[in-house]
Amino acid sequence: MTPDDAGGHPLALWPAAASLNAHEVDHLILGFTVVTLLLTVPIFVGITYFALRYRVGRAADRRHGEGRDVRIELLWMLIPFALTLGFFLWGAMIFNTEVNPPADAMQIEAIGRQWMWKFEHPGGQAEINDLHVPARQDIKINMISQDVIHSLYVPALRVQMETLPDRYTQLWFKADRPGVYRLYCSEYCGTDHSKMDGELTVMSPADFAKWLVQAGSTQSLAAVGARLYVAYGCGGCHDAKSGIAPSLAGLYGSAVRLAGGSTVVADDTWLRGKILNPDSDPVAGYRQVMPSFHGVLKEDDLTHIVAYIRSLQEPTQ
């Protein structure tokens, strides 16, 4: 199936827009283009006209003042600047929405590696390179790289975000038009960088529910994480009754006081970092006895354990 990005048309000059955000970005760039033309066409016309009008040998009134006019300099500095500042603000406002995912967005885990994407749905359904999502629902992709820097880019949504090897980054969107759109890795990552692409399929919620069933999964990501939690014996210290280490219940998203006196929010990146490097920035009130799981847990495992810890704060658990 040909994706719907350009309608499959080789002469398409405008990409498909699958979200409200995409339409807003289009309006922004169209508006900016109009203002740009207003500012530049006079220059282009002026230069061409002057070059011909005042060409050597042509009769023309060439008298001009000697002094420089400060007012005209200030005018052509400030007016274009003020005009363009409006677009700075407009862009910053859209960006504000783009980078702050709604709290209740459905979270999909993504891992980038040379040269493929792995997506995991909360229910445990996994996909390689392709991603299925329901329309008209906030989707947050929580992603991390296993090797070099990648970047997840969906032109039809007009958003991208780098996928870094040491911290989680988020990309969120709400697609409102069911269809198939291309997704790419946009940060150069080596030999098959240009083959690290796939398709984003936006489905009606009913179709998506059916797809989830067909895709099949035996257990949710949190359940996989819980199994790892048991298998690696984390509970020995982290179970609420042990007292050796902080309990993990309700930890996710809370403020943690560190031995150094500062506090930090226990987000995905911090939790992952603690599992890999427990010695750095110990938590206040506990003796640091945790071993490092660096090289023990794979990136997928880390994502699953963090998903388990996240599930412990959700009211349903």
Partner: protein, 550 residues
């Protein structure tokens, strides 16, 4: 008679042979007299020959990239070959052509002439700079011969330090070494401008080109050490496993992005500012008119060199940088538009009511203004947060910076080369061939790069060897344009070399231009001026035109 003529020798008068010193080209003909010359003019020509050779190499790589992209399925080369081609294109064009292009050739040749000096402040250091440049070039050539490098010119870690299977370290050494050449040239120019100006050459009597060289030299001095350090750290991590950027070794990959762009954004102005200086000279000379708003244009150069240090974060809007930082960087990037607009509007106003001659250099200057404006404003698009979130790392960015680098710097370089060619060589180039070449380059450039704006907006990521079939038509257009551009480049390369032997002998001042470089012979004597000039006139003191009513 303008005041300046009072202190100048009339170039038209033939002088007794005994009195006339041999010019710098004919004083001595040995290889030694070129390779160990401390004459800034000869060193300028050494750079001109070296960077032209690198330009040809970089252009061949670009041509092969465009060849590969004619088909969407990547059949022509392997992906590894393709990745090496675009990396070599970037590394060579940025560090071995664009950065040294105008400062090292025209800057070296013209800076002392324009301020009435015999040479730069440190002539031997100047020669050393060229040898350092060539040492860096040697490492780059070695890299190329043994198999190339595939990191992209941006060398992002941890790909460059841990994952790439190409010859990253020799390539890095090449770039590190060539940085020292930039630093020493910058140092030399700063001291030259401060200490070597002839009597009467006050700061505000300096040509704008000297102002832009001065601003550029400050960037050389302040920014280049940062990339040197960052690249040395890359070598440390790749060669010795010292963890700085790779998280597996305890490093932070975003740190490299910061260090890299802290240099590489100012580096854009290393490439752009001297071009702006050249264009100002051309516009004034071919309009026979004072530069409109001279002081504003001069201050704008310094402003650009300063603000450019504060905008590096606009390369990192989508790497998880804090929203506050991104917003501040976006706003500061908009501020860069102000001094850039000053330049463009003042050029336009200079042309207004001038006496315009549409010779080849002026054609390049007019082409430059158009392309620079387009490149600059699409830069503002990319500085807009929400637009960048879509267009970052797409062909829109590729088109944008080629409008600045090729449409800007390259056209300024070619315009300046034609303008000062008589001064460099003592020969005129053939005017009509010059105009045809300029037109072909302008058309070829636009056909190559305008489709890339559309490709980018459609969402084609950059550095893609294999791409979706719906992008093929625009890619073929772009490749066709590159062919026209290549034919265009052949014109000046051929007729300029031809003119060395067959060109008409140039008078001292073929353009009736103002500026001290035109008061000495073409080519100048070894010590530039027989009598030290004394300046008691304003820059660009073209007479105000009497009304011509016919």
């Amino acid at each position: 008679m303008s005041p300046s003529d009072a202190v100048m020798r009339d170039p038209g008068t033939p002088r007794p042979t005994l009195d006339r010193p041999a010019d710098y080209l004919h004083e001595e003909h040995t290889l030694r007299s070129w390779f160990f010359s401390t004459d800034h003019k000869r060193i300028g020509l050494l750079y001109l020959a070296s960077i032209t050779a690198f330009f040809v190499l970089g252009a061949i790589a670009a041509g092969l990239v465009r060849l590969a992209l004619i088909v969407p399925n990547g059949q022509i080369f392997t992906s590894d070959t393709y990745n090496r081609l675009f990396t070599m294109h970037g590394v060579i064009m940025v560090w071995f052509f664009l950065i040294p292009s105008i400062p090292s050739t025209f800057g070296n040749f013209l800076l002392p002439l324009m301020i009435g000096a015999k040479d730069v402040a440190f002539p031997r250091l100047n020669l050393l700079s060229w040898y350092i440049f060539m040492t860096g070039a040697l490492f780059t050539m070695i890299t190329l011969v043994i198999g190339g490098v595939d990191t992209g010119w941006t060398f992002y870690a941890p790909f460059s330090t841990t994952f790439s299977n190409s010859y990253v370290i020799p390539a890095l050494i090449g770039v590190i070494v060539v940085g020292f050449s930039s630093i020493l040239t910058g140092l030399n120019f700063v001291v030259t401008v401060h200490k070597m100006r002839c009597p009467g050459m006050t700061w505000f009597r300096m040509p704008i080109f000297v102002w832009t060289l001065y601003a550029t030299s400050l960037i050389f001095l302040l920014a280049t050490p940062v990339i040197t350090i960052a690249l040395i750290l890359l070598v440390m991590e790749r060669a010795f496993g010292i963890g700085i950027f790779d998280p597996r070794l305890g490093g932070d990959p975003v740190l490299f992005e910061h260090l890299f762009w802290f240099y590489s954004h100012p580096a854009v102005y290393i490439m752009v500012l001297p071009g702006m200086g050249v264009i100002t000279e051309l516009v004034a000379a071919f309009s026979a008119k004072k530069v409109f708003g001279y002081r504003f244009v001069a201050y704008a150069s310094i402003a650009l060199a300063s603000v450019t240090f504060l905008v590096w974060g606009h390369h990192m809007f989508v790497n998880g940088q804090s929203q506050l930082a991104s917003t501040v960087f976006s706003l500061l990037s908009f501020a860069v538009a102000v001094p850039s607009a000053v330049k463009v509007y003042n050029w336009t106003a200079t042309i207004h009511k001038g006496s315009i001659r549409l010779d080849t250099p002026m054609l390049y200057a007019m082409g430059y203004i158009g392309l620079f404006v387009l490149g600059g404003l699409t830069g503002l698009f990319l500085a807009t947060l929400a637009i960048d979130a879509h267009l970052h790392d797409t062909y829109f960015v590729v088109a944008h910076f080629h409008y600045i680098m090729v449409g800007g710097t390259m056209l300024a370089f070619l315009g300046g080369l034609h303008y000062w060619w008589p001064k460099f060589t003592g020969r005129m180039y053939p005017e009509s061939w010059g105009r045809v070449g300029a037109a072909l380059i302008f058309i070829g450039f636009n056909v190559t790069f305008f489709p890339q704006f559309i490709l980018g907006y459609l969402g084609m990521p950059r550095r893609y060897h294999v791409y979706p079939p719906e992008f093929q038509l625009l890619n073929i257009m772009s490749s066709a344009g590159a062919t026209i551009l290549a034919v265009g480049y052949f014109f000046p390369m051929t007729y300029l070399i031809w003119s060395l032997w067959y060109g008409r002998k140039a008078p001292a001042n073929p353009w009736n231009a103002k500026g001290l470089e035109w008061t000495t012979t073409s080519p100048p004597p070894a010590h530039n001026f027989t009598i030290t000039p004394i300046v008691d006139f304003e820059p660009y003191d073209y007479p105000n035109q009497a009304p011509e009513i016919v």
